[in-house]
């Protein structure tokens, strides 16, 4: 059973013909050519396929494309203008050496992007601790880096988003 749906991705509306069972991850990657959304397990554990749906980080391998009609989808391609500078999170990942193969990276970026937006929306945000960042990222697997640089990049940007100075030690023991 196929149907024609409208998907709003990164601010652009796309009309696509999909089968009802078409995974959102496959639709984004193969029908819309937004290949930056990676697929690592297709059973909802690794987080590589994470996109944002109306701001919430979700697993696109656990959704059908037909389920998300009318919602605003953000993929890694929508984090920064392709012709412009990188998003500060992407920049931080680069500076901290937070990627090796880079396959997990889009999923981590979108998970973290939700946190940054939420912090910015709060009136008096509390900068998160390293421990909180680690728990927040626990739904994303990385097999290359050992997580340290990813945690540092996200912690730095979350601290900025909460209006604090990331160069100040956060009171945690950051050996």
């Amino acid at each position: 059973m196929t149907r024609s749906i409208e998907l709003r991705v990164n601010g652009t509306t796309h009309r696509v013909e999909v089968e009802d069972r078409r995974l959102l991850s496959d639709c984004l990657r193969h029908d819309l050519g937004l290949r930056g959304t990676r697929v690592g397990c297709e059973h909802g554990v690794c987080g590589a396929c994470t996109v944002r749906l109306d701001g919430q980080a979700v697993r696109s391998c656990l959704l059908f494309a037909v389920q998300v009609e009318g919602q605003e989808i953000q993929t890694v391609e929508g984090l920064a203008d392709p012709e412009g500078p990188l998003h500060p999170l992407q920049e931080a990942f680069h500076r901290h050496g937070a990627l090796q193969c880079g396959y997990c990276t889009p999923g981590f970026l979108l998970t973290a992007a939700q946190l940054l937006d939420e912090l910015r929306a709060e009136p008096n945000p509390e900068p998160p601790s390293e421990e909180e960042i680690r728990v927040l990222l626990a739904g994303n697997l990385c097999r290359c880096t050992g997580y340290g640089p990813i945690v540092r990049a996200v912690l730095e940007q979350a601290t900025c988003a909460a209006g604090a100075d990331p160069t100040e030690p956060s009171g945690e023991d950051r050996r």
């Binding site: 059973h43 554990v45 690794c46 626990a138 097999r143 880096t145």
Partner: protein, 817 residues
């Protein structure tokens, strides 16, 4: 404006070699942007040919059974299906993949009349897209007659179970006892003999991206073109071509510029290349695409095999390790898939670890089980060896009443003995092991932490400290796996030795430099490091160096040892690039000397210019020299080749084939690391918390501190995973129980501690840049260091492995009755 992340720059270097203009500095990676933006091309993003059909593989549901029939008629009728192929349909296009061990163990990429592991391919469904291919795969019916399964290494040793392969008397595929020195005499003299047994389950480094292959054959010429995320070694290209019955030159392998991790696993992609090539041929040359899913990966891709080890260690009263007897049993699964049984022999030159031991006996058995064939996984034999060896050392220290660090110190190979030849023929090339240990003990506050752990235990907490000293071999000698065959058999075959890498380097007319090699990176930023190496030699900006490190066997350069394994990149590939760039620099100096009216020796290359050493104001841009080499070859001085391009191959010296006494220098170079950790076990839940972890690593010259640290931390995370969580479990019938990421637990951010790393640099005298490999050391050391710390915390000699909460809880509560 960009401040780089803190890196532990060594405060005390054993060698005072300064970093270069580019090398040894924490410059940013050059290849990040496409990955950060999501525009990088991985294997699933490729569509190199029109008319690409997609493939789903029908896999065996039983571990051991006769395959009486495959019913495909219903599947063929399903919408979108272009073909369904079985082992018999493909038989005329396939020969068994050659094995180093025995022709009596034929291994085919698709089963013919018997299945020997769950997940073994039995049919291939080709359809217009993957959804339809999977629909039809479900409609394929198998007629199976179950046979008793051999589900474990223990079972494989049971002579009453039937052999997996008709041509074999039992399931021991190889049984060799190798003796060096006089172990019997040494054991007879010993004051203390420690005997310990270890069992390590199967695990897998499981990269985040699964295997992928795109393949087509030319129906007229029979040429095969395949894109895949294969990682080498390219000796397997030859194996694959033989299986297809075509000359290797007709098998054109390519890899995309990006691969989503591998850690050895993607060496096992090659049988899928063979399978898809055969299918494409059977379908008149149709281009095909196959992407493995996670379930298939965890069930049937590859694994680090189960290892059973028994160690006997003979000590003098003073704690001198006099001799070792090892009995090692390695499960390779249902077939001996090349390069296996290399897991068992990779560490052979290092069986005595970091210690000076003259007498050694090793019984090495390769056994067959009804499980998927094993293969490369980060550490490759190292985690297995060091868990057994370093646990044994800790047990000995306890029995001798010594601090384990003191016992290690008494036995470490001293710097005066370097280069040191081990009993089994390894040649440790450089290093001051006692100095690394001393530095580690001091940085960690070993004595203080050890005393505090003891005090905490007196109060009822389960705190302990652990130590592991590890020699990390890198750049494998292609000949070492021949140790699996006795000398008289080896003598009848062509010898194998060494490890070659090639690079092609050219300066274009505009001064841009192009480097091509076949190191098939999977996240290690080879392009960045190679650009830095070339920039250093030529005095250009690294951003002016374009690197292509993915494979293209039609273009090269490559050799059978090319690829990304045995941590060989820094030593052999960066070394080859350095030598090639130095030769190109020589050409540029000759050209410049002509323009500047001086001798080539008086020319310095820096900042994109060739300058007179004594008068740096007099210079000529490299761009102009390059232009002349291309546009005006008539003007070139003698010794300068037109086009400024060269191809260079490097083989690290001192890597001969194994000798008649079974001595083999299995690797070109050997690093050393000392890991110390402090842990606490929760009495109530058995949960293991890593309180502190320090790794002091001597990997020779460090080419890039941030990337090096990334390798050490990544390797450590995988070592921790293997030690604490990861286990491919099977039921008694050989059914895999860990086929999703919910069952196969990889560590996530909260489980991996922020470890400290210190690099000490004693350059290798054998590699062009003094670099040694460093990607596997902490994977080898972490299981041993953590197991030692747990044994200390629980005050026991026997610790379970892996150190799961359940297993530790049982030890705690068993001991308390």
């Amino acid at each position: 404006m960009t401040t780089l992340p803190p890196v532990s720059v060594p405060e005390e270097r054993l060698d005072e070699g300064p970093p270069g203009r580019w090398l040894g500095r924490p410059t940013p990676r050059l290849d990040d942007e496409p990955l950060l933006r999501g525009s990088a091309w991985f294997v699933d993003d490729l569509a190199p040919w029109p008319g690409l059909a997609e493939v789903a593989i029908v896999r065996a549901p039983l571990a051991h059974a006769r395959l009486l029939g495959v019913e495909t008629a219903a599947a063929r009728q399903m919408p979108g299906v272009l073909g369904v192929l079985t082992g018999s349909d493909l038989e005329r296009f396939l020969r068994p993949l050659p094995s180093v061990l025995s022709e009596a163990i034929p291994y085919r990429p698709i089963a013919l009349d018997r299945v020997r592991y769950v997940g073994e391919p039995v049919a291939v469904v080709v359809a217009t897209d993957r959804y339809r291919a999977e629909d039809a795969a479900e409609a394929v019916e198998l007629d199976l007659d179950p046979l008793p399964a051999v589900p474990s290494a223990h079972a494989a040793l049971d002579p009453t179970l039937p052999p997996l392969h008709e041509g074999l008397p039992n399931n021991v595929a190889s049984d060799r006892t190798l003796r060096y020195g006089d172990p019997d005499a040494a054991f007879a003299q010993a004051e203390l003999v420690v005997r310990a047994r270890f069992q390590q389950p199967r695990s897998i480094c499981t990269p985040l991206e699964c295997f992928g292959v795109l393949c087509r054959t030319d129906p007229v010429s029979g040429d095969v073109e395949a894109w895949s995320n294969f990682q080498g070694p390219f000796s397997l290209q030859v194996v694959a071509a033989q299986a297809l019955g075509i000359p290797p030159a007709k098998l054109h392998l390519r890899t995309p510029e990006h691969s989503g991790g591998s850690f050895g696993t993607k060496a096992a992609v090659y049988p899928l290349v063979v399978l898809l090539a055969a299918c494409s041929r059977a379908l008149g040359g149709r281009p095909l695409k196959y992407l493995e899913d996670r379930r298939e990966h965890l069930m049937a891709a590859t694994a680090a095999g189960e290892r059973l080890s028994e160690v006997q260690a003979a000590f003098s009263a003073e704690g001198r390790l006099l001799a070792l007897r090892l009995d090692l049993v390695d499960d390779v699964g249902a077939y001996v898939r090349a390069p296996e049984p290399a897991t068992l022999y990779r560490m052979h030159p290092c069986l005595t670890g970091a210690y000076q031991v003259a007498h050694l006996e090793a019984r090495c058995r390769v056994v067959l089980t009804n499980r998927c064939p094993t293969g490369l996984n980060r550490g490759y034999g190292g985690p297995q060896l060091y868990l057994a060896l370093e646990r044994t050392m800790a047990i000995a220290a306890r029995r001798l009443g010594l601090d384990p660090a003191e016992l290690a110190r008494r036995n470490l190979v001293p710097p005066a003995a370097m280069p040191y030849t081990t009993a089994s023929g390894g040649r440790y090339d450089s290093g001051d092991y006692p100095a690394v240990l001393a530095l580690a003990l001091e940085r960690f506050d070993w004595a203080g932490k050890r005393a505090r752990a003891r005090a905490a235990r007196a109060e009822g907490r389960l705190v302990g400290v652990g130590l592991a000293c590890v020699v990390e071999p890198s750049v494998s000698n292609m000949g070492y796996v021949d140790l699996a065959s006795p000398p008289e058999v080896r003598a009848r075959r062509p010898a194998k030795s060494g490890n070659v890498e090639g690079v092609s380097l050219a300066m274009l007319p505009d001064g841009t430099v192009q480097l091509r090699t076949t190191t098939t990176p999977q996240g290690q930023a080879h392009a960045t490091v190679l650009a830095l190496v070339v920039a250093e030699a030529l005095g250009v900006d690294p951003r002016q160096v374009q690197v292509r490190a993915g494979a293209d066997t039609a273009v090269g350069p490559w050799s059978i040892s090319s690829g990304n394994y045995s941590s060989r990149f820094a030593a052999v590939a960066a070394g080859a690039a350095w030598q090639a760039a130095s030769a190109l620099a020589d050409q540029l100096r000759r050209l410049a000397a002509q323009d500047l009216g001086c001798h080539p020796e008086q020319v310095l290359l820096a900042d994109g210019h060739a300058r007179l050493v004594d008068d740096p104001e007099r210079d000529v841009p490299l761009r102009r020299l390059a232009g002349r080499a291309h546009w005006d070859p008539a003007s070139l001085p003698p010794g300068v080749r037109p086009g400024l391009s060269l191809t260079h191959h490097l083989a690290i010296p001192d890597l001969p084939a194994p000798d008649a006494q079974d001595r083999a220098n299995g690797s070109a170079t050997y690093g050393f690391l000392c890991d110390l950790c402090e842990v606490e076990v929760d009495r109530g839940t058995g949960r293991l918390e890593i309180l502190d972890y320090l790794s002091v690593h001597d990997a020779g010259r460090i080419l890039h501190p941030v990337l090096a640290e990334g390798q050490v931390h990544g390797g450590l995370a995988q070592g921790i995973g293997m030690a604490c969580f990861e286990q491919l479990a099977f039921d008694p019938d050989g059914q895999p129980l860990s086929t999703t990421f919910l069952d196969y637990l990889c560590p996530t951010a909260p489980e991996v501690p922020e470890a400290r790393t210190v690099f000490v640099e004693s350059p290798s005298p054998l590699t062009p840049l003094g670099a040694k490999g460093l990607g596997e050391g902490t994977t080898m050391s972490a299981p041993a260091a953590l197991a030692n710390a747990v044994a200390d915390a629980l005050e026991v000699e026997e610790v379970p492995f892996p150190l799961t909460p359940e297993a530790l809880w049982r030890v705690v509560h068993g001991a308390e009755g």
